[in-house]
């Protein structure tokens, strides 16, 4: 190698080395700038970790509330998460709640804690360390604990104790409440109005197989299915509809866009467009559809069509018409022209050339892109649903905004993720079959 060549090679290597150092350096500088712009340092102060803890707890467990109304009559009831439609009848209260002769309850809590609710309202909390008496009165509460443990908070209006494993006791003049956490999702299969909710798995199986009908008008299996579908806590029927709507939006949007954009893509492909000017017009048209973006389309369309799955489908359809128009016209530009030449030599017209020489070449590409976008649009449809008011996205946002039913949020998330994974798997299967065989 001669000297100038060597010097040139060294120069090129030096430049490469500089780039390979400069790119990570620039990236690092940018990340630092963003950390400042996003105020990452202040984030820890603003974060609400108690919210996070609550959320994690609620993901896999639920609370049973035992409530005594201290104002009117002193009625005691036990319910799931304080829901009116999930209140236990006295004979079906959980086994850790024991009735007393005076109408009160003995409530066992985890780790040797217990609460006694007397019929006339006095509360006794028993912990391994001692016994504490709390009495609600007409004006506040009476409590005499000279040296309260750290987990108690006491004022003349409120007594609250955080007990192990998420249990909690609060006493005010209006109500006494005891929370106890249970693992699992409450009443997931049947709500309390259903005769099946108290049965164990083996009992359910026995009833499903036996001919003795619990409801005379339908078989036990049909009754179970109906009670599950109409569960008033989890609303399985509505959730299934919402999930279906979301998938429907993705399906209609994706394939509708495919049908519309394929003929137009010919006009935007270099080798098919009748003139350069027309090609530019169609290309800009596709760019416009894509540039407006699903967000803006959703807003504009929901003004005309109102909320619902049709609006979401059309928003996806319009955006993806732009995407597919671009992708398909690129695929058309990359075809092999030999089959086209062959057909032309037999005197075939342009329509039959397109049908027999072009479509067979681009069909696998088009199909595989359509299927790929079907899966990705299932995800988009959840978020478009949240904006336009349809499908599982809306349910998710609503459940999150009430900030209470986190187990429902988990349920929706699990459903969405399973559906997306299923769509991914399905589109992969179809792609492999249609393209290879």
């Amino acid at each position: 190698m001669s000297m100038p060549e060597l010097a040139a090679a060294h120069g090129a290597m030096g430049r490469r080395r500089l780039i390979s150092l400069a790119v990570p350096g620039l990236m690092l500088a940018y990340l630092l700038y963003v950390a400042l712009a996003f105020d990452l340092a202040g984030l820890a102060g603003r974060a609400r970790w108690d919210n996070g803890r609550l959320l994690l707890q609620d993901f896999w467990s639920y609370k049973i509330h035992v409530t005594r109304d201290n104002r009117a009559g002193g009625a005691i009831s036990a319910s799931v998460e304080g829901m009116r439609n999930a209140t236990f009848t006295p004979e079906r209260e959980p086994e850790w709640i024991n009735p007393r002769a005076d109408g009160g309850r003995e409530i066992a809590l985890p780790q040797d804690h217990a609460v006694t609710l007397a019929g006339e309202g006095a509360v006794t909390l028993t912990t391994p360390e001692g016994r504490y008496e709390i009495r609600p009165t007409a004006t506040g509460i009476e409590v005499e604990i000279p040296d309260p443990p750290e987990n108690f908070s006491i004022s003349d209006k409120l007594f609250a104790a955080d007990l192990p494993e998420g249990a909690r006791l609060t006493v005010t003049r209006s109500r006494t409440e005891i929370f106890r956490r249970q693992t699992g999702w409450e009443l997931f299969f049947f709500d309390l109005s259903s005769p099946f909710s108290a049965m164990s798995w083996s009992e359910l199986a026995r009833h499903a197989l036996s001919a003795d009908r619990i409801r005379p008008e339908q078989s036990n299996i049909a009754a179970m299915a109906q009670d599950f579908w109409a569960n008033s806590v989890w609303h399985h029927g509505d959730v299934a509809w919402a999930m279906f709507e979301t998938v429907l939006m993705a399906f209609l949007g994706t394939f509708g866009a495919g049908l519309i954009s394929l003929p137009i893509a010919f006009m935007a492909a270099q080798n098919f467009a009748p003139s350069r000017g027309l090609r530019q017009v169609f290309r800009r048209f596709f760019d416009f559809l894509r540039g407006v973006d699903a967000l803006i389309w959703t807003i504009v369309l929901s003004r005309a069509f109102g909320p619902g799955p049709m609006t979401g489908s059309l928003a996806i359809l319009l955006t993806e018409t732009g995407t597919f128009g671009k992708l398909f016209s690129e695929a058309l530009e990359n075809i092999d022209e030999k089959p086209v030449e062959g057909l032309r030599s037999t005197g075939a017209g342009s329509l039959s050339r397109a049908r027999w020489a072009v479509i067979p070449q681009v069909a696998p590409v088009i199909l595989s892109q359509l299927l790929y976008y079907l899966e990705s649009n299932t995800r988009s449809a959840t978020i478009i649903g949240a904006i336009t008011g349809g499908g599982i996205g809306l349910m998710l946002v609503q459940a999150m905004q009430t900030q209470k039913d986190w187990e429902h949020v988990t349920y929706y998330i699990v459903l969405i993720v399973l559906t997306v994974i299923f769509m991914d798997w399905l589109s992969g299967r179809i792609r492999a079959r249609l393209i290879k065989g």
Binding site: Y30, A37, L40, W49, F251, L259, L295, A304, V397
Partner: protein
Amino acid sequence: MTDASEIAAAYRAQLARRRSYGALLWGIFALLMISGFRLANERNAGGFLDGLPHVLDYPQELVTEAIQKVANLPGLMWAAVPALVETLNIAAFSTILGAIGGGIVALLATRGLAPWPRLVPVFRRLLDISRAIPELVIALVLIFVLGGGPVPAALAIAFHTVGALGKLFSEVVENASLKPVEGLESVGANWVQRIWLGILPQVAPNWASYAMLRFEINIRASAILGFVGAGGIGYELRNAISWGQGRYDAAAAIFLLLFATIFLFDQLTSIARDRLTHGQPGSRAGGQI
């Protein structure tokens, strides 16, 4: 009957069967599309045919009012620029984070390169799962814990980007030549050195191209997440829309800004990707008819 005519008959029968399968598939597809649209139409608040004449009402009102107050537009657009910068920052930050994460997981999930071959399926499932979870879900959960602002959106998009880019990256790596890696291994290079010097130079153009495509997608995602409450231009747009008539100029300004941004980055990334994967701009080979 001669052999040739038998073959021809068999061929025709096969062809007829294939055509009838094809027709059947198309029939099912058409049925699904039609019944799907009818169902979606029924469950929509307003019908398709009733709404169709009004599709242009809103854009028209917006445009008329924006033209009347055209003097306000530059000021309003300028006022929305900080929010736009935030949206772009969310997109860029999450793309970089996602590309780094996706690159690392992709290398760990590629057979022949992974330092722990037994864990390859684990990393693949990890990519599948992070790809399957919609950004919206993570963003909403993080907003609840971390409060509003750009960080939840950025983390949510980054998480999804890890999965999306990781899959594409690992497809690129699978096609990379292993010879440089073997050469480096023979001189005693460790795993990081083998990857850094043997693999990254090969895959960098394609990785960069995919990352740019993702950046453009992430701009859209961060705008749309803003609309659900994660800050940036989406949030401003939502406020501007809720002001309603009389303040349409504000909404129009943000619409315009957002459109221009997405359009610009769509074109920019398209040109840059073309250069990265094809070498010279516009050198795509295309058949002519």
